[in-house]
């Protein structure tokens, strides 16, 4: 199940650069449990895929596999042509990830956290880069504050700065909006819009249909380890989509369709 035909501009970009992310036949088993049952994802530069779906659909496992944090039981993932393989870690420079956990050390300050990650990624210009990134997420005043003293919204903003510190080609977000206060949400939306307009590639798993639709270029609904439906985001309206989403999840719609087939666009 390909994730839908791309629009003309994106198609041109793909012809030139090759896909940023190419995942084929992803399957993940946890012993007797089948979490992901055959999913393909192919994305070029500037594409933003929003993945919706109920809990237990295997979305987090899918995202983890796309990011090389989880080994697929079957299938392969390539980022800019390089196979995600335990052997050589070079491809890890290309991927940035954010989940509802921040991957932060609570005992260290915001600045120390970023400096730590910066050194792991071999970045040289940390003295300039870190203040700039903290500024971008509105945490410049908190550089010296320990993470355990930051609110959840601030932690998520810091985590976002950490995920993007090394300017990855592929950004993976697992339910980033969860529990965010309005100012943090706004920062997140700003940064994500910037990513998309800057031709970075993003995959975001979210329950927030509104934000997802607003930012995405492509949409997928994952149910029981498969993509029940995929399509272009531009053709969808919020209201119509919400109804359609419930129908797909409850199994009334969603043969292995792709492309333009989808909800009616009322307005």
């Amino acid at each position: 199940m390909e994730a839908g035909p791309a629009g003309p501009a994106a198609r041109a970009a793909q012809r030139d650069a090759g896909p940023v992310l190419e995942a084929r036949g992803l399957v993940r088993e946890y012993g007797p449990v089948l979490a992901v049952d055959g999913i393909d994802v192919v994305l070029g530069e500037g594409e933003f895929l929003a993945v919706f779906g109920p809990n237990g659909a295997g979305k987090s496992s899918l995202l983890a596999m796309l990011g090389g944090a989880l080994r697929p039981t079957r299938g392969s993932v390539r980022v800019r042509g390089t196979l995600l393989d335990a052997g050589d870690d070079g491809w890890r420079h290309r991927i940035g990830a954010l989940s509802h956990q921040g991957f932060l050390y609570l005992q260290l300050t915001a600045e120390e956290n970023l400096r730590f990650y910066g050194r792991l990624f071999g970045l040289r210009d940390l003295d300039e880069r870190i203040p700039a990134r903290l500024e971008r997420v509105g945490l410049a005043a908190r550089a010296r504050t320990r993470v355990r003293e930051l609110s959840h919204g601030m932690r998520q903003r810091l985590a976002l700065a950490r995920a993007l510190l090394h300017d990855p080609d592929l950004v993976l977000l697992d339910e980033p909006y969860t529990g965010l206060d309005p100012s943090a949400s706004a920062v997140l939306r700003d940064v994500l819009t910037e990513l998309r307009d800057g031709r970075r590639t993003v995959v975001m798993v979210t329950h927030d249909l509104g934000s997802g639709l607003e930012l995405a270029t492509r949409v997928a609904i994952q149910v029981d380890g498969r993509f029940g439906w995929t399509g272009e985001a531009s053709a969808l309206s919020r209201a119509g989509f919400e109804r359609f989403y419930h129908e797909v999840v409850e199994g009334r719609v969603g043969a292995e369709g792709s492309g333009a087939g989808g909800p009616e666009v009322p307005s």
């Binding site: 088993e29 946890y30 012993g31 007797p32 089948l34 049952d37």
Partner: protein, 230 residues
């Protein structure tokens, strides 16, 4: 190798091994001469020592297949490691129960810090760790990898443990005979020992094949159940 063929081979070898053991029992009770110092109880030696040897053979096989499993990720290698570990633990248990029995009757103490006995005891605990780790993870795949690591590290350390235990023993003379088989090993005792060694090994290989085949069937069953549920 096909499962059915393996089960037949395994059963055949196990039966052969048991027959060999029966021969060994006959030999050790009726044929071989009595050892001068210890008397009749020394005959336990013909079971005790080969059991230890087999448990170490099994562990070596377990560690080897574990290493290959981590490298190649073939589930069959993991099944082989599991089967070897089970067999190994059984034989180690036999050695550890016959040892104290022998010790009590021959020398008056249940436990001596004899190097082989100590080493086998530690091996038994490494096996224990192997199984505990295997069974205590949420994700079974992780458990298999953890267990493989336990087996490999254990195998790497066994030489050190062996050397240290022997060296330690050499400093502290025990009130028991250093060589439990007696000062020399005459011909008929050697024959009996070798026959026993051979029988135990054959028995182990037979049990190993049976267990391996069983585990293969079990994973096939799991795979079918998963497919049916999907």
């Amino acid at each position: 190798m096909q499962v059915k063929g393996m089960r037949r081979a395994g059963a055949a070898l196990a039966v052969l091994g048991l027959l060999g053991l029966m021969l060994v029992y006959w030999m050790s009770f009726f044929w071989v001469s009595t050892e001068a110092t210890q008397g009749i109880v020394q005959r336990i030696f013909y079971v005790h020592v080969p059991a230890a040897w087999t448990s170490f053979l099994a562990f070596g096989l377990c560690a080897l297949t574990s290493g290959m499993y981590l490298w190649l990720r073939d589930e069959r290698l993991d099944r082989a490691a599991l089967s070897a570990a089970e067999g190994g633990m059984v034989f180690a248990t036999i050695m550890l129960t016959t040892g104290p029995l022998w010790g009590k009757i021959a020398w008056g103490t249940y436990w001596t810090w004899e190097p082989r006995l100590t080493l086998t005891l530690l091996l038994w605990f490494i096996f224990l760790g192997y199984f505990m780790v295997r069974g205590s993870t949420e994700d079974p795949g992780k458990g298999k990898r953890f267990a493989a690591v336990v087996a490999i590290v254990g195998a790497l350390e066994i030489p050190f443990i062996h050397l240290s235990v022997i060296w330690f023993r050499s400093l502290h003379p025990q009130p028991v005979v250093v060589r439990p088989e007696g000062p020399t090993l005459p011909g008929d005792m050697f024959t009996t020992l070798m026959t026993s060694l051979g029988s135990f090994t054959v028995l182990f290989v037979g049990l190993f094949l049976l267990r391996y085949a069983l585990e293969g069937l079990r994973s096939e069953l799991d795979a079918r159940a998963r497919r049916a549920a999907a």
